[in-house]
Symmetry: C2
Subunit: 567 residues, 2 copies
C-alpha cells in the first residue's frame, strides 16, 4: 500500500487523491508541513484567507501502534504568529489517517457560502457533508453527537466555538483512544484556520487496522524490541506514568521559573497545593472516574495523561497537565486543582489552547479585568469568550492581542504566541528556544529544564537549546511523543533501524538530529519568505529588564548569541 | 542664535539643553526623526516602553511665517506600525519651538509614578508640572483650562483620553493660530507614545517673535518673493482657499476611488451631498461661526482649512477635511455633513486620527457592530472609546486591531495603519505609495491622484509614486504644507535659494527631491533595523483579489514593481 495525498477543497466540496510527489516522500509529520506550505501557498498570504491551507500529516513512524509514536502533525500558516505552524496531538487521528493510506490531508480553498461543513473520510474516499446541527456547540457535545451519528469507532478532529469564531487561541481537538475529545493540536490558532474553511469536523471512518508495510520486518522488530525494553525500564517512564507532566511543577518552582501572577514571580507560595504529589494523591483518594495513568494513544506504555475527578469521583477534565497547572493555576494566582480543572475543561470545550488562554487571562488581570486568584471571575471571562462578546473576542485572540488592545507591555509571548510555564529568565536555555523557534514561544520546541547546565548562565544556553530544538523537531517528524525519548535516548540506533526497517532508507546514526535539522531549515525558509527576520527572534523587552523574584534574573542572553543558534 | 536640542526626561523630570550634534545639523523636520531614532533608540524596542522617545522637530524653513511653511514634525517608533513614524501638523507649535531656539525636543524615559505631567517650555528653560487637573478630560476642555492657566498666547501640544489610554489611533493635537486645538499630528499613534510617557500636554510659553537668523537675507527675500508670487497666482491656491481639501471628493469619486462602506465600492450614490460645492454652499448659507477659508498657521495665504457650523451658525468642528469626509462619511455610508462634522468633533476631542478611526468603524461595521449609514450608532461607538470599554479599546487601537479581534480579513491597512480616502485599486500609484512608504498607508506620503497617468495601469505607477514620495518627504523636511507645492512647483530655484538664504548651504536645484531621498533612506534604514522586509511593503491580500465597483479594478501592481520603488 502506497500512501497518497488526499486533497479536500471546501470551495467546490471535492476530495481527490494523488500520488506523493518525489520531494515529499522522505518527509512526514512536522517536516512535511513547511515543505507543503513552501510548495503550495504564498508565504505572505492571509492566514485566514483562501490561499492558506490546513494540513494533517502523520509522522514517519505512525501506523504501527509503536508505543507513543502515533502522533498527528497539524499545520498551516499561523494566524497567531504569521509564520509556519505545526501543532501535534496524540489520540487516534494519526493512526487512522495512515490506516486509510493518507500521507497528507490538504484542506484548501475558501468556503462559498455561510454553512458549516463536515469532511468524512473512509475507504470509499472523502466527501463533504453539512454540519449545521453541530455548529455552535462545544467540543464535548459536538463530539458526542458525531460519535452517535458515525459510530464510536471513528476518529474525529474538530473545532469548538472558538475555532468557529476564528479566534487565534483555537486549536483542533482529537479523540483519544477512549473516544474523549481531549487531545488538542493546541498551539498557533490552527482551529481558527479550520474555522476559516468553515469546517467543523473531520470524521475518519476507518475501523480496520492496516499498518503500512515494512521493508525489513526483522530489523524493524528488533529495533522495536530494543526501544520498548529501554523505554519500559527507564526510571522517568515510571515517573510520568505515576505523575504525568505535573511532576514538573515542583522542579520548575525549585528553579524559580514557574509562572506566577502573569510571570511577575518565579516561585508560588502554594506550590504544594498544585504539586504532582498532591495531584496524584487527590486523584487516588477521590477514586471514581479519576485516573493517574491514562494513555492517550493506543499502545502507549508511558500513559502520562490523567483524568481528574471531583470529590464525588465524577470526571471534571482529562488531561490536567503541567502547562495548564502553570498557566491557568499559578500564573493566575489560583491554587485549587478543582478550580484549575474546571477552567481547563471549559477551555477544552471551547477548543482553545490552555497555554494561550491562561496567558491571555494573566495579561487581562494586569489590565484590571480580573483579580489574581479569582477563579470565578476567570470562568466568567471564559463565558465571554463563548458568547463572543467584545471582551471575549479580545481574550480569544490570545495574550498578545489582550496586551495590544489594553496597551499592556507585560505580555509573555514571542512571535505573538504565549510563553509556556517555564519563565525564560530562570531557565534561559528554554528562553533561547522561545526566542528562536520558528514556531513562536513553545516549550515543546525545545525544553532545556533537564539539561546539565547552569540555567541562569546567559552564555551557556545556545548549544543546549539548539540540541533540544533539533531533537524535538526530530521527534515531531517521527510522530513520536517527547517522552518516547526516554526510550530512544538509551537505545542507540533504534530510530535509525525503525526507519530502515519500515522504509529501507539509508539513514545514519544521527537520524533524530538530522531529521530535526532538516525540519527547522524548512520552517525557517518559510518564515523568511513570510517576512520574518532576526527582530522576531527576541524575547519581549520587559523580560530583559524586569528581574524575576526570587532569582532576580533577567533574560540577558545577548542578541548575538540568539542569532547564532541556527548559523 | 544657534538652535539647540532640548531633552526632557519624564523619569527624573529634568529638562536639559545641548548643542546640535554635527550629523543632525543639516537635518530637520521629518528627516531628523529617523536620524534621532537611529542614534538614540534600539530599533526593536517596545513603542510604549521606556526606550522609545517622542520627538518634536520643526522643519528646515520653520520660524519665519513664510506662508504654509511652519509645520511641526512629531515622531517616534510607532505603536501602530512598529516602524518609524513622523506625523506633522500646522498650528503654532513649530513656530514657537523655533522661536525658543529648539531644533529638536526629545522626550524620553519611563514615568516613575501614576501621575500625569505637563511640560512647560519658555525662555527660562523647561520644567515639569503636575497635570492631574486636566487628566481624563477631552481635548477641548483640557486646552481651554490650560489656556486659562498659561494665557492665550501659548502654544500647546496635547493628548486626549485616547492618548491617555495609549490607544494606537491617538494623535497629538496642536493649537491653531486662533488657539483652537484642532491641528493634529494624527497618524501612527504618537498620542499613545505621549500617553506612555504620562505627558498630557506641552506648553510652549513663547510670546516673542524670534525668527532664526538669515545667512543671506537678500537671497532669502528674493526667493520668498518669487515663491509667494507663484503661490498666490496659482489657480489651485484659489480652489483650496475656496473649497479646502473637500474639493477632492468629487474628483476621487469620478475615478471610482472614494471609499464607500469599508472600501467595498468606489463611487458614492450621495456624492453630491458630500461634495466640496455642497460643503462651501452649506457653510456660507449658515453663516455664524462657519468659515470656508481658514488659515491654520500664521501667515498662510492658502487658508485651506475651514470651520463647519450648525444651522444656527454655531461651530460644530474645525477643520472638516476630505479625508474625514471620505473615511467617516462615505466609508461608513454616511452622507450628512452635520453627522460627519459631529463625529469629526468627537474624534478631535478624543484626540484620535479620523482616518484611523473611520477605517476602524468601517471594519467594525463589517464585523456586525454597526450598520453602514447609522451615524447615531457610530457616535455610540465613540462613547465606548471615551469610556475605555472593551469594545472602545478595540476600536481605539485602530482598523487592524478591529480586524484582528473579529477575524475580519477586509481591513484597509498597510503596516498596521489605515488607508486614506483613495482606494488603491482605482488610484494605483497611491497604492504603490501605501505599500512602500516606510510610514505605512498614508496619502500624505505620496498622493498621485493629480499625476498625468492612467491610474488603472499597474505598470505605470512606480515612477509616479517614487517622485511623489520624494517630493512629500522633501516638503515634510522643510516643514512645508503640501499645498505650498503649488507655489514651489512654479518658482524654480525658490527652495534652493530659501535654504541657501537661511543657512548658506551649498544645495542644488533638485533640493526638494534630494531632501526627500535622504529622508526616505533614513526611514527605511530604521525600519530595516526594526525588522521590516519586503513582506511589509504589500497591500492587503483582499485588495488584490476583490474587484472594486464600478471600475472592477483589483490592485495588480506586481510585487517586483513594488520592490523596485526604492532600488
Amino acid at each position: 500500500m502506497d500512501l497518497a495525498v488526499w486533497r479536500a477543497n471546501v470551495n467546490n466540496q471535492t476530495v481527490t487523491t494523488e500520488p506523493v510527489p518525489e520531494s515529499w516522500q522522505r518527509l512526514a509529520g512536522r517536516a512535511l508541513i513547511p515543505r507543503i506550505l513552501l510548495d503550495e501557498i504564498p508565504p505572505m498570504c492571509d492566514p485566514l484567507g483562501p490561499f492558506n491551507k490546513l494540513l494533517f500529516a502523520p509522522g514517519l513512524l505512525v501506523g504501527h501502534m509503536l508505543s507513543s509514536c502515533d502522533r498527528i502533525s497539524v499545520g498551516a500558516k499561523s494566524p497567531l504568529t504569521g509564520g509556519v505552524k505545526e501543532a501535534n496531538a496524540g489520540g487516534t487521528t494519526g493512526l487512522k489517517l495512515v490506516h486509510l493510506g493518507i500521507k497528507a490531508l490538504i484542506i484548501e480553498g475558501a468556503p462559498a457560502g455561510n454553512g458549516w461543513l463536515l469532511l468524512h473520510l473512509s475507504q470509499e474516499g472523502g466527501r463533504f457533508e453539512l454540519a449545521d446541527d453541530v455548529t455552535g456547540l462545544g467540543i464535548e457535545e459536538s463530539a458526542a453527537r458525531l460519535r452517535e451519528r458515525y459510530g464510536d469507532k471513528v476518529g474525529i478532529a474538530l473545532i469548538g466555538p472558538a475555532g468557529e469564531m476564528m479566534m487565534a487561541s483555537a486549536g483542533i481537538q482529537n479523540l483519544d483512544k477512549d473516544g474523549s475529545p481531549a487531545r488538542i493540536a493546541a498551539r498557533g490558532g490552527l482551529g481558527a484556520v479550520m474555522g476559516s474553511k468553515r469546517l467543523k469536523a473531520i470524521i475518519i471512518d476507518m475501523p480496520d487496522y492496516k499498518a503500512p508495510p515494512l521493508a525489513d520486518e526483522a530489523l524493524y522488530k528488533d529495533a522495536k524490541k530494543r526501544y520498548m525494553k529501554s523505554l519500559t525500564s527507564h526510571p522517568q517512564t515510571k515517573v510520568y506514568s505515576d505523575y504525568g507532566t505535573s511532576a514538573v511543577a515542583t522542579m520548575c518552582n525549585g528553579f524559580g521559573a514557574i509562572p506566577v501572577n502573569n510571570f511577575s514571580v518565579g516561585q508560588f507560595d502554594s506550590i504544594d497545593k498544585i504539586s504532582g504529589d498532591n495531584l496524584r494523591d487527590t486523584i487516588l483518594e477521590r477514586g471514581g472516574d479519576g485516573d493517574t495513568s491514562h494513555a492517550c494513544m493506543p499502545g502507549c506504555v508511558i500513559r502520562s495523561s490523567n483524568c481528574f475527578a471531583d470529590p464525588e469521583g465524577k470526571k471534571i477534565t482529562t488531561p490536567l497537565e503541567y502547562e495548564t497547572i502553570g498557566l491557568v493555576g499559578s500564573n493566575l494566582g489560583i491554587d485549587s486543582f478543582d478550580t484549575i480543572a474546571k477552567l481547563n475543561q471549559e477551555m477544552n470545550d471551547l477548543g482553545v489552547d490552555t497555554i494561550e488562554m491562561g496567558a491571555a487571562l494573566g495579561v487581562a488581570a494586569d489590565a484590571g479585568l480580573m483579580e489574581f486568584g479569582d477563579g470565578e471571575r476567570a470562568m466568567e471571562l471564559l463565558q465571554e469568550v463563548r458568547q463572543g462578546t467584545p471582551l471575549g473576542r479580545i481574550l480569544g485572540q490570545g495574550a498578545t492581542t489582550v496586551g495590544k488592545v489594553y496597551s499592556i507591555r507585560r505580555v509573555p509571548a514571542v512571535k505573538g504566541q504565549a510563553i509556556s510555564a517555564y519563565d525564560p529568565r530562570a531557565i534561559k536555555g528554554t528562553g533561547v528556544t522561545y526566542a528562536t523557534s520558528p514556531q513562536g514561544a513553545d516549550h515543546t520546541a525545545g525544553l532545556t529544564i533537564r539539561a546539565k547546565v547552569d540555567h541562569l548562565d546567559p552564555m551557556a544556553q545556545v548549544e543546549v537549546s539548539r540540541t533540544a530544538q533539533f531533537n524535538m523537531a526530530g521527534y515531531d517528524t517521527l510522530g513520536a511523543c517527547v517522552f518516547s525519548g526516554f526510550g530512544y535516548a538509551t537505545a542507540p540506533g533504534a530510530i535509525r533501524d525503525l526507519i530502515r526497517g519500515q522504509y529501507g532508507w539509508d539513514i545514519g546514526e544521527d537520524a533524530l538530529q538530522a531529521l530535526g535539522r532538516e525540519t527547522l531549515a524548512l520552517e525557517r525558509a518559510f518564515n523568511k519568505a513570510a517576512g520574518f527576520t532576526a527582530a522576531d527572534d527576541r524575547l519581549p523587552e520587559w523580560m530583559t529588564t524586569e528581574p524575576l523574584p526570587p532569582t532576580n534574573a533577567v533574560f540577558d542572553v545577548p542578541a548575538e548569541e540568539l542569532d547564532r543558534v541556527f548559523d
